[in-house]
């Protein structure tokens, strides 16, 4: 099996779906000849032509809004927003149009589309490029929000997203694009949307994470296991909306302790919802409060400070250790 980076895995998923389904169109800023600023769509225009893979004028709201029209017409648009922070400019078209047209039309119109956008910290991008937006879109009912943590999942989740009749926001963490390779089947497969995965089994504590924080959590888990001999489970949420509440509750019911690791700021983040779910469905299993390891409640910082601000291995490990205390 080939060993691919996440960029390659996503490129391959798009390639497969373009080949398989003539209704799939890819468009956005610089996705054509340039192959995307991260080369995610590299070679696709050359292979499938300008009608299937094309550049648009610089207008995020119109990119999503025109995708809404295409989906209404039965196409399966896969628009790219160059960086997730720029989805703010298309916020209305995403949350009140794409996410709600199925509802508004009394269920008669499907919004099968996938909005792809890179995001995430630690790679020295300018303002807004790194913003964690998932907790905003978690509130856009009708929309699904997916964040893969591995190349294998990225391909399988993206194919599932393109085949889903509902709109999906597919967020790709820039730091994961090329940070490691994984065996990825060259053929078609899907990874189910709405299902979390156990990234690492354990029985003493659940570390709940997603995106780039999964790997960090796994590493921190190893550190703590070596140091304390504790058995640390890491749960990769994979889908942020709708959350896999069952997987969260199962893991915490088993371990009785949990922390949530989230790259974005604390207030109103995904971690809060995870904790609310635990509180509602597994409170009596808990030995200790569920700690949150997050960025502080401020904007994504100037790059010289980003490593200070992002949850570090040490901070994650410390939270695990604190929560493991009797």
């Amino acid at each position: 099996m080939p060993k691919w980076t996440m960029v390659k895995a996503i490129n391959n998923a798009l390639d497969l779906k373009l080949a398989q389904d003539p209704n799939v169109l890819i468009f956005g800023e610089d996705v054509g000849k340039n192959g995307g600023v991260f080369r995610v769509t590299d070679g696709l225009q050359a292979k499938f032509g300008e009608e299937r893979v094309f550049d648009t004028p610089l207008a995020e709201s119109a990119i999503i809004g025109s995708a809404v029209g295409m989906a209404t017409y039965g196409l399966r648009p896969v628009p790219e927003i160059q960086f997730a922070g720029f989805t703010y400019l298309a916020f209305h078209q995403i949350v009140a149009q794409a996410a709600r047209l199925h509802f508004r039309s009394g269920g008669t119109i499907d919004m099968a589309m996938v909005i792809r956008a890179p995001f995430g910290g630690g790679v020295r991008t300018p303002e807004l490029h790194a913003d964690s937006v998932e907790a905003l879109y978690m509130q856009a009912q009708g929309l699904k929000v997916v964040i893969p943590a591995t190349p294998y999942d990225a391909k399988g989740l993206l194919i599932a997203a393109i085949e889903d009749p509902d709109p999906v926001l597919f967020l790709e963490h820039m730091k994961l694009y090329r940070s490691f390779r994984q065996e990825v089947p060259a053929e078609h497969y899907t990874v189910p949307i709405g299902k979390a995965a156990i990234a690492r089994e354990g029985s003493d504590i659940s570390v709940i994470a997603y995106g780039a924080m999964v790997q960090a959590s796994v590493k921190a888990a190893e550190m703590v296991e070596q140091k304390l001999g504790a058995s640390v489970e890491v749960l990769d949420l994979r889908t942020i909306a709708p959350l896999d509440e069952e997987a969260i509750v199962n893991s915490v019911s088993k371990t009785g302790r949990a922390i949530v690791v989230q790259e974005g700021p604390r207030a109103g983040g995904v971690a809060a919802e995870v904790i609310a779910v635990i509180n509602e469905q597994a409170l009596y299993s808990l030995y200790k409060p569920v700690l949150r390891v997050t960025s502080p409640d401020g904007p994504y910082p100037f790059t010289v400070m980003e490593d200070d601000i992002l949850p570090s291995l040490d901070r994650i490990a410390a939270a695990i250790e604190t929560t493991l205390e009797p």
Binding site: A62, S66, G69, Y73, Q93, Q97, T108, G142
Partner: protein, 354 residues
């Protein structure tokens, strides 16, 4: 290629029902159909306002004064064409096959169950200008599928100030999308007059700015609107790209049933527009042609009222005894477990409360 800025308002039928240009070549039955739709529109609008006053209908946006524009923009459309309209386009919606009861449901606050892609009409949505990129997307999809169809998008004068309107026009121009944009310039955006909406003399000047022709026509003249839209649709179908038509009309009523125009509108303005009424002038014209007389007009009105009455009765009697269950089915195609749980809990609670 640079298109020139329109400098005057094209008119074919004057307010006193005289021709000052070439009317579209249409058979008498179709000319009468136009009349029927205009009358239906006004009666529908008045009835909706009455229903609202009686507490049997939600907030409604009357269309009085804009009947010719709505008929003229929908009439030249063909089978495969799509209509993406605003909330004041009831007549166009009906002409494109949306049943009256659907709009009653929508304004009444029910799930408008009779929309569907098969009707080729986008459901009304109230966020100004947001429908414009949808219209472009549909047009791009037609283009991609190599179909000889086009989209008619309708928007108010006020809504043209929104970013989405401009982004959409620019997309349409760039992709040469088969789109005809009709700006229903009725002089007001709630309390804000057209002059405070943009400093340009005509909103249609936006056309050349985005690489497409712009036209200005008398919106109370059904022929002027029809001809302009027909030509632009033809252009779009021929792959020559989009265009924009500003129709100059007047909102004779309140913005909606929740609005009081006496707060902001000069009282002589309505008096000024009264003689330009689109139905009056068209009636004169048909009478001159000998296509209409008092008896015929009375027949048509009676027919329309009967049709409307049936719709109202259906709305009130058959209107779905909408249980909240249906709500939960509309969020996603597959209801996620937590939403199913919320549904079950809510229904249990509602049953308990009864």
């Amino acid at each position: 290629m640079t298109f020139s800025l329109p400098t005057s308002i094209t008119q074919i039928l004057t307010p006193d029902g005289k021709l000052v240009g070439d009317p579209p070549e249409l058979p008498p039955e179709q000319l009468l159909e136009f009349y029927r739709w205009m009358v239906l529109g006004r009666i529908f609008s008045n009835r909706m306002v009455a229903l609202q006053r009686q507490g049997r209908m939600g907030t409604f946006a009357p269309l009085n004064g804009q009947e010719a524009a709505s008929v003229g923009l929908a009439a030249p459309m063909q089978d495969g064409d799509w209509l993406v309209g605003g909330y004041r386009e009831a007549i166009s919606f009906f002409m494109r096959g949306i049943p009256m009861v659907t709009l009653m449901e929508q304004w009444g606050g029910y799930i408008p169950i009779s929309y569907s892609p098969a009707t080729k009409v986008m459901p009304i949505q109230v966020v100004l200008a947001s429908q414009m990129p949808h219209a472009v997307g549909i047009a791009m999809a037609m283009q991609y599928k190599k179909e000889r169809n086009a989209v008619v998008a309708v928007i108010g004068d006020g809504a043209t100030s929104e970013g989405d309107f401009n982004e959409a026009l620019n997309f349409a121009g760039t992709f040469k999308a088969p789109l005809v944009t009709v700006v229903q310039n009725n002089g007001w955006a709630i309390s804000v007059p057209r002059e405070k909406q943009t400093a340009a003399e005509y909103i249609a000047h936006r056309g050349p700015a985005f690489g497409m022709p712009g036209y200005v026509v008398d919106g109370n003249d059904v022929f002027a609107v029809y001809s302009a839209v027909e030509q632009c649709l033809e252009r779009a179908r021929n792959g020559e790209g989009p265009s924009i038509i500003e129709v100059i009309t007047y909102r004779m009523g309140a913005h909606t049933t929740a609005d009081d125009p006496t707060k902001y509108r000069p009282s002589d303005e309505l008096a000024e527009w009264k003689p330009k009424d689109p139905i009056t002038r068209y009636t004169s014209y048909l009478r001159t042609l000998g296509l209409l007389d008092d008896a015929k007009a009375a027949d048509i009105e009676a027919e329309v009222r009967a049709e409307l009455q049936i719709a109202v009765e259906r709305y009130e009697a058959e209107r779905p005894a909408q249980r909240v269950e249906k709500y939960f089915d509309l969020v996603y195609n597959d209801t996620p477990p937590q939403l199913a749980r919320q549904r079950d809990e809510l229904i249990r609670a509602l049953n308990r409360e009864q």
